[in-house]
Symmetry: C5
Subunit: 354 residues, 5 copies
């Protein structure tokens, strides 16, 4: 399937609020966790059945519902009712190939973003769609697979003294988005480091392997760019839209996010420039080495050409070639040849051809 844009003919023309999973199934089980906290208490529960979930909103508390795994259609169809959100939002959640975006609905704020996962083989990146739904006192997060990306925030939540315990769902959403964007930075810095290492390798030897690496990095950067750039736009709109679900005080943090994602995008572009500069160096290196070889070989053969010609002349069968009968004819010819060869070498050296 195409990596940059995914589309399935069968989903063309379906209603925007029809609840159908439009991604690849990335996990087998669905995990629902409800975390509820305020300054004084914190409770964390795993919800077995969606029916157990009543009254998500509890005054004086911030409730965070995290849903890992999106393939259980029965569950998904029940969510709009139980969570009091519009079906179109769940439909949106299920379209995991959607572009990062922010939409303000009547009773909630929808934020979609791509989480990037760095596979172990060095330079392959996979994306995962993560959705945040911010409601009054409630944050619902949807992940395609069960993972531990949000664990640092769970840790912070456990500490009652942390500011995060005092602040609401919008601040919680910020800390989670912050993790995702910090992850972008981390990924770019890792690839960036590898790219910068290429510089020295290139000067030592420009082989096919390096070329393949450059091309691989290039296509990963294009892929990263495609995943991160809409996120930048999204954050920009989020700040500009002045949503009622984002507190005035939290906005300063969201602006921080904007600065971070801008930094990430800038660096990405820098690395793109550096890669194309490296590609240039690679080609220069290769062609300069080829030139050296060809020049050497050409000079080598050129030196023998007049010598062979002279041998050819004295190989003719003319009856009257006086030189052939001289006693020193043969050694003189050899010496003359040596002089010609040396003379040409000196000439080429002086012309800096060898």
């Amino acid at each position: 399937m195409a990596r940059f844009i995914k589309s399935n003919k069968e989903f063309i023309g379906i209603s925007p609020d029809s609840i159908r999973f439009r991604g690849e199934k990335k996990t087998d089980s669905t995990l629902i966790k409800l975390t509820r906290y305020n300054e004084n208490s914190l409770s964390e529960n795993t919800i077995g059945e969606i029916e157990d979930l009543t009254d998500l909103y509890k005054p004086g508390f911030t409730s965070w519902l995290n849903i890992d795994g999106l393939h259980d259609m029965d569950l998904m169809r029940q969510l709009p009712v139980n969570l009091d959100i519009e079906p179109v939002i769940i439909s949106e959640v299920l379209n995991t190939h959607a572009r990062p975006k922010v939409i303000e609905y009547d009773n909630c704020l929808y934020i979609g973003l791509k989480m990037l996962h760095y596979l172990g083989d060095g330079i392959t990146i996979k994306t995962e769609n993560i959705v945040f739904v911010v409601k009054e006192g409630v944050l619902i997060t949807f992940q395609e697979r069960t993972g531990d990306v949000f664990d640092p925030v769970r840790e912070r939540l456990k500490n009652a003294k942390k500011r995060i315990r005092r602040l609401g769902a919008d601040y919680l959403a910020f800390t989670l988005i912050d993790i995702i964007i910090d992850n972008y930075t981390y990924l770019i810095s890792r690839i960036g480091q590898d790219i910068e290492t290429l510089d020295e390798k290139l000067l030592r030897s420009a082989n096919d392997d390096i070329l393949h690496q450059i091309n691989k990095f290039k296509s990963e950067l294009i892929y990263l760019h495609k995943s991160i750039l809409p996120g930048k736009e999204m954050i920009y709109h989020l700040i500009k839209m002045d949503s009622e679900y984002i507190n005035e005080d939290s906005l300063v943090h969201y602006r921080e996010l904007q600065s971070n994602i801008n930094h990430a995008v800038d660096s990405l572009n820098n690395y793109k420039e550096i890669l194309s500069s490296q590609l240039n160096i690679y080609h220069t290196q290769v062609s300069s080495r080829l030139n050296d070889v060809m020049k050497f070989l050409t000079v080598f053969s050129v030196i023998f050409i007049p010598l062979t010609f002279i041998a050819g002349i004295y190989g003719t069968n003319f009856v009257h070639i006086p030189e052939l009968h001289y006693k020193l004819g043969y050694p003189v010819m050899l010496v003359a040849m040596a002089i010609i060869a040396v003379g040409m070498l000196v000439y080429f050296k002086r012309k800096r051809w060898i």
Copy 2:
């Protein structure tokens, strides 16, 4: 005829409301279908004569008039009167080479868009102009040829429980435009998949065939870009213009369209970048293979040059060449030649020239 811009000298200077067909005739028959529905009932009729068409607007119902085939000028000239729209709109409909755009007229909203058709031969795309005219309770659509693009929506309409039956002409227009834009995404993802497949092919063998494919894809992407980009602008204006014919509630769906078309355009640009990167790899592969061949051949001939020279020396007819009379002269020469040849091979190997 030029594919990217079409113009005909004879149409220069004609009045903007003169009703003349300015495209290519793409169908023989004209098909007019009227679909009328509300939450409770749905009727679908084929209109034989335009005279049969009176009172398009029926209170409490949404009326969708779909006209396939635009070459019947008698019909077209009657339309403005029967449908109560300005002649300039019909003139616009007939100019099938027009750029996608949205215009708000006094009593309707005009939306023009390109439908893309993917021909069976792999990578050739044809465009068709589709026009939506949104009026109070009425949607009129014009297509250049009879087709089944809108069938999924007809299916949804048949289901009385679907939301689409409750919502008006603006929502109907949205679902139809949504199909067109989903089609963009689908097309790009299909071409994109083919482009991504080239990556591996390139590494295996870089032949002329791949080059022609890259160039073909490239020109198709330029053509797609040209067809889709004005659509992106159009959607943007549609949202910004705050038309009275688009319901506040429908706007959120139109914003969804914007996100989708942005995604499509982004991917298109990504694929353009990938193609030019592939072109680069192609050239590198070709020139690197040529270099290998040339280097081998040069090295090969360079090895024989000194050998032939030695043979030439002993082929001279000097009377006094002592070596010629030695008993082992000939085999010693052969051995010497072998040593020289091997020595050069070793030297070249060490220098990594072969």
Copy 3:
């Protein structure tokens, strides 16, 4: 003289309202035509002397004064008084190298635009400056040469039933500008068609002739771009400035112009991309053909090298070369040579070098 920007040292520092002709004289005679019409009547007169021209504005009528030829300075100096416009406008008219622009003066609206003429030799374009001055009930047009570009509008005016007879000077200006912009589209489509034809030619044979055509097209596109792009800006400003000389009702037509000129500029950029893609193909074709030739020739000579070497060995004059005395020595050598040659051919074929 420079084609892209023209400047004359002697005009530096002259007053903006000094009436001096700053272009090239393109016609010998000056032709002044006054067309006056309303729904009921139409009169068309050629004005011999500017003195004959009094009361350009006639209530209830639209008066269109068309002046072809700008070199008659006496006439030009009289115009501001007779037509009641500021001298700076005439000065502007006379600067035929000016950039397309729109300026609102106290009692009129100035619109300058480039008319493009396509010379018969295939791909050379000449520009002509055309100025529209819109006043209350009056349109004055200035052309550098006498021509028939506006004839379609004159034809339409003759038909009393046409809408143009009912609408004012701003609509007349629109129809004339529309002709100019349709002409852009037509020109681009003609060049575009020629460019698209190159595609096939390129695949058949990439010769110098095609290269010169590509370069010629490229420079013509740059020239077209330079002439059309400021027109796009101009139309944009015209719509945005909300001038009192442009009727609300006419604005929708001007927006149409904007869409058309955008389409033209888009296509222009597409063709630029296509040309640079073709240039790429051209270079690939040329270098691939050269590679084929060089490879063939190199392989050819490489095959003879060992054969000539063998002949050289048996050409040496050693006294003791046993093979020379064998009866079958000579034919065996020939056969051995043939085997070596065929062996090498097979090897090269297998390596896909030939």
Copy 4:
């Protein structure tokens, strides 16, 4: 010193209002001229001592003080007091490497711009900083060297009937800036003409000389771009800022300036494109000529290879080579060689290799 940006370590950290000359001294003497005019009278005086300068503003008159030469620090330090302007303005004037800009101060408007001088050697451009300070009824201009750039305006001022005598300091500033921008246009058109001439030269012969010219033009265009572009921004801000020192009536003229400078920048970009297109043609020409030479030479040597091989065979010393004893052996060999040579020539010709 760097040509594109000049900086001196010793000026880092000095106060923005410290009066120190930060440019190169370009003239030895300082020349101060005061021109005072209204519709009825005009006086022109050279000011010997700055002390003579009292009451620059004289009601009912426009006073134009022109100062050529900026290196006299005593004078400069006195200026703020005598001219009633802030010291920071003089400090700005003395920083001749500053970027063109417009700043509105409390009691005056500061406009900085680059004057371009075209040196006689064909394509070298020098810049000079020119500052305009517009006050109520007063215009002060600062030039780095004494020159005659503003002479056309002095001429126009002498004619009492000219509009310039009736209008104020802002109109005077406009006419002077107009000269500077017309000068840009003139310069670009001169370089442009030279660039367009290269087109034909290139087709005739692509030698090193042309390459150096292309590169020289390119770097001059970059330099021009750098000098002119900030001027474009500056004019744009000047118009947008709605300064009290620029009369409403003069604004139309400033808009004219904007159109002119836009035209200049457009053409500059066009010429940049043309140059890079020419560079392309140059490389194509050079490589195509090299290809021709190499192909000819290769074909030439390839034809001799089989002939020399045949001679080699009959040069072998086998005792039993029957052909050697035929009477016609030698001429038959020569004829066979000729046939082979002609055959190869025909083959290569047919393959279009020669």
Copy 5:
């Protein structure tokens, strides 16, 4: 570690107000200096313990607290309390890899900027993060290492007559930022000078050394661009945000900063263009020199080919070769060879191949 973007996995997910040092330790000791001044007095103290610091704000004075070295976490944790600023600001200060930005907090204005240090080895640049916190009557600056960058301002402060003594903390901040930006200009002008020097070197000889320099400069320019560009944005926002901590009167100076940084960025882009133009020249030079060598060598060997062929013919052992028995056969052959060689030389010369 990656140079363009730095990220550490362990900092992902930490709270924005957690006080942890996220940079490299660049100094061992921490130095805190308090400078307090008004028009009449100036005191400068080194603060040993942060506890000594009470009442930073003193009415009627401007207090400037400069902190060099950020690694002392105990100190940093105490700062928010002692300086009455939010912990998030200190957290921001400690993230030395942050992007330049300006944020308005409730009781202060945060300005972050990169100071550039030019290492002695010619072209390596290091960045240092510098933070300005502007409060009512107070300026706090944070530097990563102890340095003398701000010394010129300290000097100016000592002079009681200087304007800086009369103006507040916002003006002090301006003068310090001014130094940083002047430093940008200085750095670019130094690198720029080196780049411009390359022009001549390139024409004299295009060796590998120059290529490495071009590539080094290029990557330094990318790095500079990355460090300076966000600063440009930052200044732009600073001016637009209309902060209460920046006095109206100081704004004109900040606009000056904007002009300076724009100038720096423009020049940077110019030098990038020049470098890529130089890279072009380099490649042209190298390939043109290679072409010369190859052409010479090919022509040289081509001249010998027919001569060797002739010698080959007379080396054949045919019994009946009449020429071999002519008395003048040998010298005639030599003369014929000379004529052929000269003839070819003349031919090649005429064709301009040598």
